[in-house]
């Protein structure tokens, strides 16, 4: 309970893909932090975003909503938000909601990055 409001985002770029590593509690209080982080990336013209959930302990409905807010716009611009490395408990929250149908949820960063790159390659071929 004490760590409830503790939420950190670590940002790094990996082969042109923006990786956000989430840490702690993502709820109604901390969601705006993630929202502005993604917004900033989009403003800077990035549309390939990878969100790593490895160190996230909790996600609430408001936290889930953040991804919904951006996914449409990002996909329209040809990019994607891929979610990776979820703990089983976090995954079950996504799963219950039907997120696996709507989002690309990968087991690790590597596979997500590979998918991004593969997609790019295909586009270039076209």
């Amino acid at each position: 309970m004490k760590n409830q409001n503790k939420f950190e985002i670590k940002h790094q770029a990996n082969r042109g893909i923006q990786c956000l590593n989430l840490e702690g509690y993502l709820d109604a209080h901390t969601a705006p932090k993630l929202e502005s982080a993604i917004e900033e990336l989009m403003k800077s013209g990035f549309n390939k975003i990878l969100v790593n959930f490895q160190d996230l302990d909790y996600i609430s409905s408001a936290g889930l909503g953040v991804f919904m807010a951006f996914i449409e716009e990002i996909r329209e611009s040809g990019g994607d938000i891929k979610l990776t490395s979820m703990k089983s408990k976090i995954f079950s929250v996504f799963d219950l909601l039907g997120f696996p149908i709507l989002f690309d949820i990968e087991t690790n960063d590597e596979s997500a990055i590979a998918k991004f790159l593969k997609n790019d390659l295909r586009k270039n071929e076209e």
Binding site: S61, G65, M68, L97, G98, I101, L102
Partner: protein, 706 residues
Amino acid sequence: MPLQIKFNRIYLIIAAVLIGLARMAGDFFIQIFLNPDNSIIIVWKFVTFALFSSSVLVFIFSQPIKELHQFEGNFEDDFFRDLVKLILLSLGLITGGLFIPERAFEHEVANNLFWLLISDVFTMYGIICGLIILHFVYKWLLIFKHKKTSTNIRILSFALGYFFIAFFIRDVLNLRENQVLSSLNKILFIIISVLLFFTAKKNSWIALLPRRGKLRLVGESLLGIIVSIIIFSYSRSDSGSLAKIFAVFLPGSSSILSIPILYVIIFYSRLFLSALASLPTSQIVERKTSELSSLAYLNRIISETIDFENLINTVTKLALQVSNAAASWAEFYDKKTGEVTVTSAQIISLELIKDIHKRYNISEFFKKIKKSELISSVTENKEIYYLAEQRIAGSLIVTPLCSVNDRFGTLVIVSPEEYGFEFDDIKIMAAFGDNVSVALENIRLVSEAVEKEHYKRELMLAQEIQKKLLPQEIPPIEKFSVSAFSIPSEEVGGDYYDILYIKDGRPCILIGDVSGKGITAAFYMAQLKGVVLSVAKEATGAADLLRRVNSTLYGAMEKQMYITMSSLVFDSADNSIIFARAGHMPTIIKSAKCTKLITPNGIGIGLAPQKIFDSHLDETRIKLYHGDVCLFFTDGINELKNIDGEEFGYEQLSEICENESSCNAKSFLDNLQIQLSEHVGTAHAHDDMTAVAIIFNDGEILENVS
């Protein structure tokens, strides 16, 4: 009885006048017919003197002394009136003493009838003066009394009596040359003077007099001292001219004037010294008094007013009163927009100040000042020199107004002259600033509290309305016992449940949870209710209902909002339920064989367009037997945390379902609620909690239920 006193006092005057006339007639007779050595003369003189003096004494002292206190009312006016009266009386005495030549008397006998009668009248006047002076001393000693006053007055009265008798005896018996007696008298004189000097010491009131009052006191007491010393020297029992006139009237009688005069000299001296000593500090005292009363007034205003404008106006006005300022104003800064509001300008035009703010960034300069600060020369200050150019200020004091951690305004007082303020002005303005800051903070807190109260009332109203959006009671459903509860974590929430009838008339139970919580969630919940009601009549089944809800709401909600829902249609004819889930929590089904979580496929409402949503939505039919339990809930229940952060969890929920044996959904949920509140303990529920319980009860083994 005032009437009684008045009556008696008129008699006293008449008696005094008659005695005086009788005395003069008697003296006339004696002068012509009797030998000056006749001993009857002294008896006559004594008797008439005693009668006259005592009637005047009683008359004067029967005047009621007003209950005056040195710290209240305008007793100073009364005092000055008495003082002037005394000085005028004394001047009369001096004139008389000068006017009546000493040679008119020889050996205490008048040379002729004219001087005899003149001296009679004059002596009687002298007696009256002496007694009035005595009364004056007595009255003001009482008014300025301290704990030893009454003892001292007794001693003084005794002294008066002693000297009168002593001088009378001395003069009558011709003991003027007696060394012992005159030494004794001198010693007593000194003792009494010292005693009186200390008796008249309570003069703290003088310090509080305005400067004009003090000057007047210095002048009048000095005049009084001079006049009284002259009279005293005239009336000294052995040599003065007044003494000789008195001696003709009655040997030794001059004490009745000289002793009070001695008192009054000492009294005046004391006043004179105190007034003179307090003169240099009078401006400071006046200023401090004014500061003190302004601060007291300010504090009273603060405690009485919660009106911001009113308070600021009072403050800028008071600031002018207590300082050397010529003009003042206050300005406030909006925390969010940074906008400056200039207000309550005194003497100076508000428009002019606003104009300055428009043209120059003066507020930024003020904001840099953290505590009351004096800028003695505006001209020399590079940042605000324009104030001097515009002839607004030569010097100014800037007093910040701040709450605990927020600078919200500035109080400014200006003087047209350079170096127009004193150091004291900063101190008083700092005190003002502190007081006003506290007061304004209070006003802000009060209005915030009022606003909060207002919102609270609105929220309570919203809560009432939201309660009405949930079913007031659940209609009976054949073969099913159904019950539900919903507890928002805040006043309102986003949880929803409902019971309605679909197209073919079968009853349908819904449970829903809008993402987020509080007001936003509550609005969506209300919208959801409307949508559900409108689509239910057309819905053909549990899944179809959810599809219809999604197709209406998808795209109509904010992107980050979504709703999870489960729906359940009762099929009493088939002893079964049909169940569909749109992103919602699993449902717990307890049967005789096992207890399990059922999670058919389905995406949350508002997350996916119709096509994707529809293609991923499954529907499950579940056959039920007597005692089977079906529990719907929102995540607020399974995620309910206790003080250690442990969630209530699916397992505990399943366990409660397993232990169910009453076949009564209501008592089952009551039990669940008890377990939930036991779990949460002193912790706080962070999410809305809603549960719907359905227990199949077809009466087949009813006898097992107790």
